[in-house]
């Protein structure tokens, strides 16, 4: 490898993920990078946000300086952030909320990831170093949403690979991820294997492959990530 390549910031990753949205899509965003996606909804597009704690169709997160004016303890998202009301939103209990998820009524979920396997297995709930972890709603979302996007840095801070032949962290769900968006690549999970769709500006397919354990399929229309 040559000199250190530029990587996408978390905001740019969220921007790239926002290109997967479509008008009227029902979307559930996990905590972390996924939450940022709500800031990049394409102009004129209506997205119906779902939060597993029982709301649909709400508005943006309350920002730090709006808390005094707008925060309400009874209007939060799954990350515990205060959210805002929007005309046409509605509320429901947890069994109904996860019925929506498990029943395939969420078009798209974006989940943070620790590892993703060649077959689309997702590990995102437990750091083995900590010994314990929170399952939360991730297993249901990974199994139930029509499309699952895994968002993560391509390698760990220590340079360990995260896209692996087999995950060695405990799984969240098997064969659930449809698209992996990292700070250097966009990779589609297909029956034939992982297809490198896009790479970050300045990166080559070989350089992405070097940081990816399974063999990447390089299609003729491989593109640079653009915004």
């Amino acid at each position: 490898m040559g000199p250190t390549k530029g990587k996408l910031t978390r905001e740019l990753m969220a921007m790239r993920i926002s290109q997967e949205l479509f008008d009227g899509a029902v979307v559930n965003l996990g905590i972390g990078i996924p939450t940022l996606v709500s800031s990049y909804i394409p102009e004129g597009m209506t997205i119906i946000f779902h939060t597993q704690n029982g709301a649909l169709g709400f508005g943006p997160v309350v920002t730090a300086d709006e808390v005094a004016e707008k925060a309400d303890v009874d209007l939060i998202n799954a990350g515990g952030q205060y959210i805002t009301p929007l005309p046409g939103m509605c509320f429901f209990h947890h069994a109904d909320s996860f019925g929506m998820i498990r029943g395939g009524h969420i078009d798209l979920t974006v989940l943070g990831a620790l590892q993703v396997s060649e077959k689309g297995d997702l590990a995102n709930w437990l750091f083995p170093a900590r010994g314990v972890g929170n399952i939360g709603g991730g297993m249901d979302l990974a199994v139930g949403a029509k499309k699952v996007i895994a968002a993560m840095e391509h390698v760990t801070k220590n340079g360990e690979l995260r896209i692996l032949k087999e995950c060695n962290y405990p799984l969240t769900a098997k064969e659930c991820v449809d698209l992996i968006v990292t700070d250097i690549a966009v990779i589609e999970v297909t029956r034939e294997g992982l297809v490198l769709r896009e790479h970050a500006p300045g990166w080559t397919a070989e350089e992405v492959q070097a940081l990816t354990e399974p063999r990447l399929i390089i299609p003729p229309d491989l593109k640079e990530i653009s915004f």
């Binding site: 939060t51 597993q52 704690n53 029982g54 709301a55 808390v67 005094a68 925060a71 309400d72 303890v73 009874d74 209007l75 939060i76 799954a78 990350g79 515990g80 205060y82 009301p85 929007l86 005309p87 939103m89 509320f91 429901f92 209990h93 947890h94 069994a95 909320s97 996860f98 019925g99 998820i101 498990r102 297995d121 750091f127 900590r130 010994g131 314990v132 972890g133 929170n134 399952i135 939360g136 709603g137 991730g138 297993m139 249901d140 199994v143 139930g144 405990p170 799984l171 969240t172 769900a173 098997k174």
Partner: protein, 247 residues
């Protein structure tokens, strides 16, 4: 008519016994959590409790409040059944986390949707159900698995309780409840799944003062109602409805 209104939180939890199983409505913050019932339970001091809820308290959000963590601090808990039992921050472990890691408290961790569905199943007389959630993960350990409609699924059993401690917005005197925004969370389903359901509410009104089309928890599920007299210092705007009318 049976009077469901109870004068104090202490009175409301007076018959909770050592070894009881108690559900707590809650999600990731003080909204929708029966904080006063929880405090009364700590005060009562009963031991060897099994507690069921999304979290087990003390998950480390910026808003600090008295949640189930106070029951661990008081050594009242024997077992936890939860989806999100630990702190969000490894450097600030919750009392539950410490006691689970020390082997002092037993933990059953359950995916959130499965937890909700198991509670509903208990309330609604369903013995068990098959769900795709958890297949291929630690969750499937010891569970029956079968392929339904081409998909692997796990058999999950109903989860009942002796008591449900729930939080709602308004009750009428028959026990009919309405909630406020995401306050609903697990509260309406827990109300169905316990032998005794106790609701902590902001307001108690006469029967007929709540729109019958908007009642979420029918009164037949609620045994006791207690009114909150002192509002907590949370960002709460009771005067504001979430109804953003366009008209």
């Amino acid at each position: 008519m049976v009077n469901k209104v109870v004068g104090s939180f202490e009175e409301a939890v007076a018959d909770v016994f050592d070894g009881a199983t108690i559900m707590f409505g809650n999600f990731a913050g003080p909204g929708g959590f029966p904080i006063n019932l929880c405090r009364a339970l700590r005060h009562k001091g009963v031991k060897n409790l099994t507690i069921i809820g999304n979290t087990a308290g003390g998950i480390g959000l910026t808003t600090d409040f008295d949640d189930q963590a106070i029951l661990f601090e008081n050594r009242q808990v024997k077992k936890v059944i939860a989806s999100f039992p630990f702190s969000i921050s490894p450097s600030r472990p919750s009392p539950c986390e410490k006691q689970v890691l020390a082997g002092e408290v037993e933990l059953e961790i359950v995916p959130q949707g499965t937890l909700a569905e198991r509670i509903r199943a208990a309330g609604y007389g369903i013995g068990a159900f098959y769900t795709p959630t958890g297949v291929g993960t630690v969750v499937e350990k010891g569970k029956e698995k079968r392929v339904i409609n081409g998909r692997e699924m796990l058999l999950e059993y109903a989860l009942p309780a002796d008591f449900a401690f729930i939080r709602a917005f308004k009750a009428d005197k028959l026990g009919n409840l309405v909630y406020r925004g995401t306050q609903r969370n697990f509260n309406p389903i827990m109300a169905t799944a316990a032998r005794i359901t106790i609701a902590e509410v902001d307001e108690i009104v006469e029967a007929g003062e709540i729109d019958p089309e908007a009642i979420v928890t029918p009164g037949i599920f609620v045994n006791r109602i207690v009114k909150v007299t002192k509002q907590e210092d949370f960002p709460r705007h009771l005067e504001r409805s979430f109804w953003v009318k366009t008209a």
